[in-house]
């Protein structure tokens, strides 16, 4: 390479959401080689198949490079566009959105896909004044975020994870390959080589499960039953960590169990303002077993009962929360769970014993002294080396929230929260339960010409935090934070289009979509959603009048846009992985990182961040202009350096090298050289907490004071684990008419009362409850291959050679019964629709389950693939058989096919049957769509063959 111009630059990968450090070698300005950055804390030099294929993303013929306007008279979906200038595009948007902001800001909706700048997109929406903002979390894994955060104040992936360096037993439940993938692969390999034992519980044995020491196949959607039976067995055998539970959770706290009281099911409160000493609002009552009387929690010398029933002096009947849990799981025996999960009772029992015995007998002791918030000094940090990991496999079910509560409780009773060898938090977690941010709690939060009166997304603590009108009806277009899905902390993007199309709760004017393929794999019920995007009212106007789509590629969604904004690739942009969003923190302290362009933008591509800054400035949104209404920020890099959450707050998007000379971190004045300092430091800022602050952070006095000092958290109160969720009980009481304040509409009372159980319980997923299981006997799920992420990668010439089309994998037994063979064309049909696809027999799948790789199938012509490409002819999208709404039933006409607590899209609940395609049918997937046309500005032509050589691309 010496004879040619060679450069090496550092930035951060974005071929998936992992955010590894990369080192890019360029030859003659073209990308020669992308390697993992060996000096990066996240990936330590390794890189995956996607990251290694970034070259083919950068030079993909699917790239769109010019702003485009739908040609007048053409239909949405026809992809007939004319080129316009950026200035015209901005003028168009500023006029339209300016009018909406002055009249009714909620008529503008902004929804984003897997973007890594939710702090900015959310801020733009808030500044605009619309409540209608969310990212993709509602249809991804919000149950995992909410279920764990409402229980332990943290969750997996960006929020925390398994400490495989110290664990001895690792249990992975459900598909989890798609999050935090390289760090998890690194850790899993080291864990196995250190002699750790790995158990995978999953309907399918692929990916990480392949190298598990034991694979336990389970029926989809039944994980909650397994977890509850494990809790049952762990408690019954005394394998729980009693000291951990009494000191660090609400397990020993006394709950009012007088069924007639209005505060039935709430903790007995003793704290009063002005109480002195080391007391906290969380401090309530224990029943001291040494003196047989009620005492304030954490009273020195007291040791509370976890079990029993007691009567307070005033006659109130009380039980420790743990006794409530024991009562709840009494009938959840391994035999009961065996029938539901398909796992033999004896295996469930052994699994519980394995976890409990490892936790109890292989205790870790680290010679690290620390002090808890009650002032107790500890000579050592101890841990029980049993670690768990789970993501979408548990989350994407309508019973996922309660299932994940059960997981968090199992992890807690084993004593594994923020301790070595168990689960560990990542800054800025742990957070209070629930975290502080709140949405407005009524229509007064939405006003013309004003920023939203709260966050667009928040964490309700009780029914009065709901974002509903006087009748208890939703204010957001996706009905998030309403009584239908009260804790929908990431919104319900999967219902935004259907609701806007129906005008329920109201019609909107402009829908702006960033990086989400809502006309294909990001929507349930894809075929009908495409029709809704193209549907007109009686006056001939589109029901969703204006659609703006920002994307880097010619995706299926782009075809439906009225205005297309060409985004850059990750190699062409500045970006921040901010502490205000979800940074890349490690267990031992906060870490954030940036992207710095390594190549210039292609054509007229403009990063979406720049679009928002420019649009915000033109709209004169307060954060982007001076008091006089003049431009405040030159561009996105300038904004990142100089923006402060409040004037003089010293808190901005980046935590590293703050202060005038870069001498401060977390908080400090803007530093004009901040970008350069990140660039010199591998695009990453890492802070290692003192060792005594690295564990037990929910209760660690030093850590909590440190976190408050650096403004990570507002309070230094202990974050006690919610074994028993008073938050949920308050919603249940409201449904029973016993809680002061907001009341659910009558039609939803029963639903709230049923699902807002303060202790986890098992119920069959909602769709299964409403399905004819004789007609549709099988569960259908998807997994994501490690070499593909979302729908992005089918335009990638190298990656699509690994997965050009997908099969429906199923047990050979189903073929024998159904009269079809391995490789045959079959129909997979649910009560909502059917898809024709090819089947593959597999012995690595639970026989009641069929599955496929997610998002390989494409619409013909999209992503710059030829109309004959495998992706559209043999590949298929399971979304066609999944509905975004439940069939009308007692609770409502148009309820989302989602978890009734969080609004998490229930992708994995669908029930299907599979049968052989007819002999005369085409050997082609169905449904088919008119091939999508190429668009103006797709400057790179797809060649019939090529041999990529950096520096010679345009010369061959």
């Amino acid at each position: 390479m010496s004879e040619s111009r060679t450069e090496v630059k550092n930035t951060t990968c974005y071929m998936c959401a992992c955010r590894c450090g990369i080192r890019v070698t360029l030859k003659e300005g073209e990308v020669r080689y992308i390697q993992g950055n060996p000096d990066h804390p996240l990936n330590k030099g390794v890189i995956c198949a996607k990251g290694s294929s970034g070259i083919m993303k950068q030079y993909s013929p699917a790239r769109i490079t010019k702003p485009l306007l739908r040609r007048p008279g053409s239909h949405r979906g026809d992809a007939e566009f004319q080129e316009i200038s950026w200035d015209e595009a901005f003028t168009l948007m500023a006029e339209r959105l300016g009018h909406l902001r002055q009249t009714d800001p909620k008529k503008f909706a902004l929804f984003t896909g897997r973007d890594q700048m939710q702090a900015l997109t959310g801020m733009f929406a808030r500044q605009f004044g619309t409540p209608n903002y969310a990212a993709h979390g509602g249809f991804c894994s919000v149950n995992m975020a909410a279920g764990m955060i409402y229980t332990i104040g943290g969750s997996f992936w960006e929020f925390g994870g398994p400490d495989l360096e110290r664990a001895r037993l690792f249990i992975m439940i459900g598909t989890a390959e798609d999050h935090h993938s390289n760090p998890l692969k690194i850790a899993l390999s080291q864990f196995k080589r250190n002699g750790g034992r790995f158990i995978s519980i999953n309907p399918v044995r692929t990916g990480y499960s392949a190298i598990a020491d034991d694979w336990i196949p389970i029926k989809p959607g039944t994980d909650g039953a397994l977890l509850l039976a494990l809790i049952h067995e762990t408690i019954n055998t005394g394998l729980y960590d009693r000291e951990f539970l009494t000191q660090y959770s609400n397990a020993a706290q006394l709950v009012n169990v007088n069924t007639k009281d209005d505060d039935y099911g709430l903790f007995i409160r003793t704290y009063e303002e002005g109480d002195e000493g080391k007391v906290h609002p969380q401090d309530q009552l224990w029943w001291d077993r040494l003196n047989n009387q009620a005492v304030r929690t954490h009273t020195k010398g007291a040791d509370p009962f976890l079990l029993g029933e007691f009567t307070l002096e005033d006659g109130t009947l009380v039980k420790p929360a743990f006794q409530m849990l024991v009562d709840q799981v009494k009938d959840y025996t391994p035999e009961w769970a065996a029938n539901i999960t398909g796992i033999p009772a004896e295996r469930i029992r052994t699994l519980a014993h394995e976890m409990g015995i490892v936790a109890r007998d292989e205790k870790i002791e680290l010679p690290i002294a620390w002090t808890d918030v009650w002032g107790n000094e500890h000579a050592a940090v101890t841990g029980n080396p049993v670690a768990f990991h789970a993501m979408r496999g548990l989350a994407a079910h309508s019973n996922g929230f309660q299932t994940i509560r059960a997981l968090a409780i199992l992890m807690s009773i084993l004593g594994t929260i923020d301790r070595p060898g168990g689960f560990r938090h990542k800054a800025p977690f742990p957070r209070p339960i629930p975290p502080c941010p709140k949405t407005p709690n009524g229509p007064q939060g939405v006003k013309a010409n004003e920023p939203l009166g709260g966050m667009p997304l928040g964490w309700p603590a009780d029914p009065n935090d709901l974002f509903v009108d006087g009748k208890g009806e939703p204010i957001r277009i996706d009905k998030a934070f309403s009584w239908e899905y009260p804790l929908s902390v990431h919104g319900l993007m999967h219902n935004a289009i259907t609701n806007a199309w129906r005008g329920d709760p109201y019609p909107i004017d402009t829908l702006m979509i960033f990086m989400a393929n809502m006309a294909w794999n990001s929507s349930m019920n894809t075929e009908q959603v495409r029709q809704m995007l193209n549907d007109k009212d009686e006056q001939g106007e589109y029901k969703i009048p204006f659609l703006i789509v920002c994307d880097a590629f010619q995706s299926e969604m782009v075809a439906y846009a009225d205005l297309v904004l060409p985004d850059t690739t990750y190699l062409e942009r500045h970006d921040v992985m901010s502490m205000l969003d979800r940074p890349i923190s490690e267990f031992d302290g906060p870490v954030d990182s940036v992207r710095i362009p390594v190549v210039p933008p292609t054509g007229q591509c403009k990063p979406f961040q720049e679009v928002l800054i420019e649009l915000g400035t033109r709209l004169k949104l307060p954060a982007f202009v001076t008091k006089e209404g003049r431009r405040k920020y030159r561009d996105y890099p300038d904004f990142i350096v100089n923006f402060e959450t409040e004037p003089g707050s010293g808190i901005g998007f980046l935590a590293g090298w703050r202060g005038k000379g870069g001498e401060k971190f977390m908080r400090g004045e803007p530093n004009p050289k901040q970008w350069e300092m990140y660039e010199k430091n591998n695009c990453v800022y890492q802070y290692h907490l003192p060792r005594s602050y690295q564990y037990m952070r929910n209760w660690n006095e030093g850590y909590l004071e440190w976190a408050q000092h650096h403004r990570l958290t507002r309070y230094t109160d202990p974050i006690n684990i919610h074994i028993y969720s008073e938050v949920l009980q308050k919603f249940r009481l409201a449904a029973q008419g016993k809680y002061a304040g907001k009341q659910p509409p009558e039609r939803l009372r029963k639903r709230i009362e049923t699902y807002f159980d303060p202790l986890p319980f098992f119920y069959e997923p909602l769709e299964a409850q409403l399905s004819d299981k004789h007609q549709y006997p099988l569960s259908a799920v998807t997994q994501r291959p490690m070499a593909m992420y979302h729908s992005w990668d089918s335009q990638n010439a190298w990656l699509r050679q690994i997965h050009a089309h997908n099969y429906l994998y199923l047990s050979p037994e189903l073929g024998r019964k159904g009269g079809f063979k391995d490789g045959d064309w079959v129909w997979v049909e649910s009560m909502h629709g059917k898809v024709r696809c090819m089947c593959r027999f597999s012995e690595a799948v639970e026989p009641g389950t069929v599955w496929t790789w997610n998002a390989i199938g494409k619409a013909a012509g999209a992503w710059s693939l030829s109309a004959e490409a495998n992706e559209s002819q043999k590949g298929f999208l399971l979304n066609h058989v999944i509905s975004e709404e439940l069939p009308p039933h007692a609770d409502g006409e148009h309820l989302s096919n989602s978890d009734p607590i969080t609004g998490q899209a229930a992708w994995y609940d669908v029930r299907v049957k599979v049968y052989k395609a007819g002999p005369g049918e085409p050997q082609q997937t169905s449904p088919q769509f008119e091939p999508m046309r190429r668009m103006p500005g797709q400057s790179i032509k797809p060649k019939s063959w090529f041999g990529y050589v950096a520096g010679k691309r345009n010369k061959s």
Partner: protein, 242 residues
């Protein structure tokens, strides 16, 4: 004499394909490139890869193993692809045992790929030459690279460090130790090709629970049974007389 080779640990390989595409991106612009792609955006795309991962199942449900099996040229000690080459294009280097193809001499006759029992060679239909893994010969001796990076691209990329690289003739090398101590084996030794690359098998970690491990004097449930009786609770002495 040195024999460089890969040792691939099937115990930790998760089948992520990082080795497949990291190889492709390094080598397509390198001395063994380009690695062409046919119909890259059309029907049945196919291209040259020096390294592929095959996945297969062993056993039947529920006792199923899913095995991810990365495969590339094994750099045999006695490579059957070399003597069959009519032009001498296919050769084994004396200094390090790497099997290479000299593109200037190769006439694309494919004798070598027929002779290779492992299917490790790939013809480039456009350049009309046979291509294969070079163990990144243009990286591993490059003095301009930091020493830690003088390794094949696949080895650097592998997230689970399932790919070990070194001299299998040096008994103290990491690869020789791994083969010796972890049960390393060659593919199809009966062919007599003496493959230099080796594989490490799956190793299971099991747990056996003794019944008495469930019995402990400090079982926390015991603490829940003690209760100081109230003074008006019935006592034995209330009813005793003598």
């Amino acid at each position: 004499m040195t024999q460089l080779a890969l040792v691939i640990d099937l115990n930790v390989c998760v089948g992520c394909h990082a080795c497949v595409t990291s190889c492709k991106q390094w080598n397509t612009s390198g001395s063994a490139g380009p690695m062409s792609d046919d119909r890259p955006y059309g029907k049945d795309p196919t291209g040259t890869f020096f390294n592929r991962v095959q996945t297969f199942e062993v056993g039947s449900f529920p006792k199923t193993e899913t095995v991810h099996f990365p495969k590339s040229c094994l750099h045999c000690e006695d490579p059957p692809c070399v003597p069959v080459c009519p032009t001498g294009a296919s050769y084994k280097r004396k200094e390090d045992g790497i099997v290479l193809v000299d593109y200037d001499k190769c006439i694309g006759c494919k004798y070598c790929s027929w002779a290779c029992p492992y299917g490790a060679r790939e013809i480039d239909e456009h350049q009309k030459v046979m291509k294969k893994c070079t163990l990144c010969v243009d990286r591993i001796y490059d003095q301009k690279l930091p020493e830690a990076e003088r390794k094949p691209a696949c080895v650097l990329a592998c997230p689970t460090s399932a790919r070990l690289f070194g001299d299998v003739h040096d008994p103290d090398s990491m690869v020789s130790v791994a083969i010796r101590e972890e049960g390393g084996y060659p593919l199809m030794p009966e062919w007599g090709t003496q493959p230099s690359n080796h594989y490490l098998p799956r190793r299971k970690t099991k747990m056996h629970i003794h019944e008495d491990e469930l019995v402990r004097v400090d079982n926390p449930l015991a603490k829940e049974q003690f209760k100081v009786p109230d003074s008006d609770d019935p006592f034995l002495e209330d009813a005793s007389s003598w």
